[in-house]
């Protein structure tokens, strides 16, 4: 069994543990929509790796460069975007001038993604269709990363709900950065880096749900 497959099995297993944990939490307590969206993101993210594992085991070969997991990666980050932009941002940001700098600073992460994109994609001989899929995926990750970064630095509001979610936002941001990095390893064909990143993503998926659950609990206290 190749090492990458073992890493992907490990990631899927951690993702499934996180999913079961999240499901039981949702079943025992009334959780906000914010948590549901994080759990759905984790679920979709887990299925990305589970699909790769299942495909490799069932067909005995690597999935095609374009496969359904590309959509699922986008879906996973759209759920995170949904959670932060749709659920939290209106509470965190009242659109006042005082918070302007907190809207600008997170653009650093977007800029970093763009610069790395250009550096990685320039000179690489990949076909246009794959390039478009990769870039659209990175764009979606950027959207989610912007809001996670913003909620990591923005001042707290009454009730402490923004401060309470800092841990989750940090892990989600790490998950986003690593997911972009894994796309870059695909473009560059760097299998060692890919092997190193894959299990860390699994840990992020698991920790994201556990931390989100604990931090959402703080809203009630």
């Amino acid at each position: 069994m190749d090492r990458q497959l073992i890493a992907e099995i490990f990631t899927s297993a951690l993702g499934i543990i996180g999913l079961i944990f999240g499901f039981f939490r949702m079943n025992t307590k009334k959780m906000p929509l914010y948590f549901t969206m994080i759990l759905l993101s984790e679920f979709t993210g887990t299925l990305v790796y589970l699909f790769r594992v299942v495909y490799k085991i069932c067909s005995g070969s690597e999935p095609l460069t374009f496969n359904v997991s590309a959509f699922a990666v986008m879906g996973s980050f759209l759920f995170l975007f949904f959670a932060n932009y749709g659920e939290m941002d209106m509470l965190a940001d009242d659109k006042s001038k005082a918070l302007k700098k907190y809207r600008i600073i997170p653009l650093i992460i977007v800029l970093a993604f763009v610069i790395t994109d250009i550096a990685v994609f320039a000179g690489q001989n990949i076909n246009l269709f794959e390039k478009i899929i990769f870039l659209v995926t990175i764009f979606v990750i950027m959207l989610a990363a912007y809001y996670n970064m913003k909620h990591l630095i923005i001042p707290d509001v009454e009730g402490g709900i923004i401060k309470a979610m800092r841990g989750y936002n940090f892990v989600a941001l790490l998950y986003e950065i690593l997911s972009v990095a894994i796309i870059f390893t695909q473009v560059l064909g760097d299998s060692y880096l890919r092997l190193a990143i894959t299990p860390i993503i699994g840990l992020c998926l698991l920790i994201m749900v556990i931390i989100a659950d604990r931090e959402v609990e703080k809203w009630k206290t």
Partner: protein, 222 residues
């Protein structure tokens, strides 16, 4: 037989259409969505055959890469239509989503059975009946209930639709990979394992709502 799927389609849809006339109002929508599911299956078979001829993919790659995308996309449209135009009642959405998935899988199963008539067995049919019906219904439920939740956030409808669809697509692709391999027992287990938690949540919510309604009625009487 070239038009086999059309023959099967008419054999199934016409009785359901007659049933639609006679069933009480409460059951009409579910019956209609069984017909919708069957019709979608027919439509998708045509769409998939176009892609199959156009793309240089073998059957395994096609069913794990292309068909989940087309199937989930087209299955999603009637559910969105129902929630937007007809009703956003949770129980009704559960009913029509499940009916659509069942309708889809019924025609799909019969078509596959007739095509492989010499190879099929009652055990195969039992496994296929459970797994295929559940996988199509579970994906419809995911999309239906998910859309019902995100519908409240108007500005996020587009990303919400896309993310729910992608979730259904990858789930379907995993099922298709497993069911065609020697690990097909896992393929049967997957929809069962995902259906059970969904069913638990639905029953729990229904029980809560019934209790709430009963309490409200008592309060009104008092």
């Amino acid at each position: 037989m070239e038009n086999l799927i059309y023959v099967l389609f008419f054999c199934m849809v016409i009785p359901f259409c007659m049933m639609l006339i006679i069933v009480p109002k409460g059951a009409k929508m579910n019956t209609a969505y069984i017909i919708v599911g069957i019709t979608i299956c027919l439509f998708i078979s045509e769409v998939n055959s176009i892609f199959m001829n156009a793309l240089p993919l073998n059957m395994f790659d096609f069913t794990t890469t292309v068909s989940p995308i087309t199937e989930e996309l087209i299955k999603y449209i009637p559910i969105i239509f129902f929630i937007y135009v007809l009703s956003d009642d949770k129980d009704k959405v559960i009913g029509i989503a499940f009916a659509e998935g069942v309708g889809f899988s019924v025609l799909e199963n019969i078509f596959i059975t007739v095509q492989n008539i010499s190879a099929v067995s009652p055990t195969w049919a039992l496994a296929r009946g459970i797994s295929s019906a559940l996988v199509h219904s579970v994906t419809c439920l995911i999309m239906g209930l998910g859309f019902l939740t995100i519908k409240k956030k108007k500005k996020l409808i587009a990303p919400g639709i896309l993310s729910l669809w992608s979730l259904a697509v990858i789930y379907h692709a995993i099922f298709n990979s497993l069911i065609q391999s020697k690990y097909n027992a896992f393929g049967i287990a997957l929809p069962l394992l995902t259906f059970l938690p969904e069913a638990i949540i639905i029953f729990r919510d229904r029980k809560k709502n019934n209790k709430k309604n009963a309490d409200n009625k008592i309060a009104e009487k008092i």
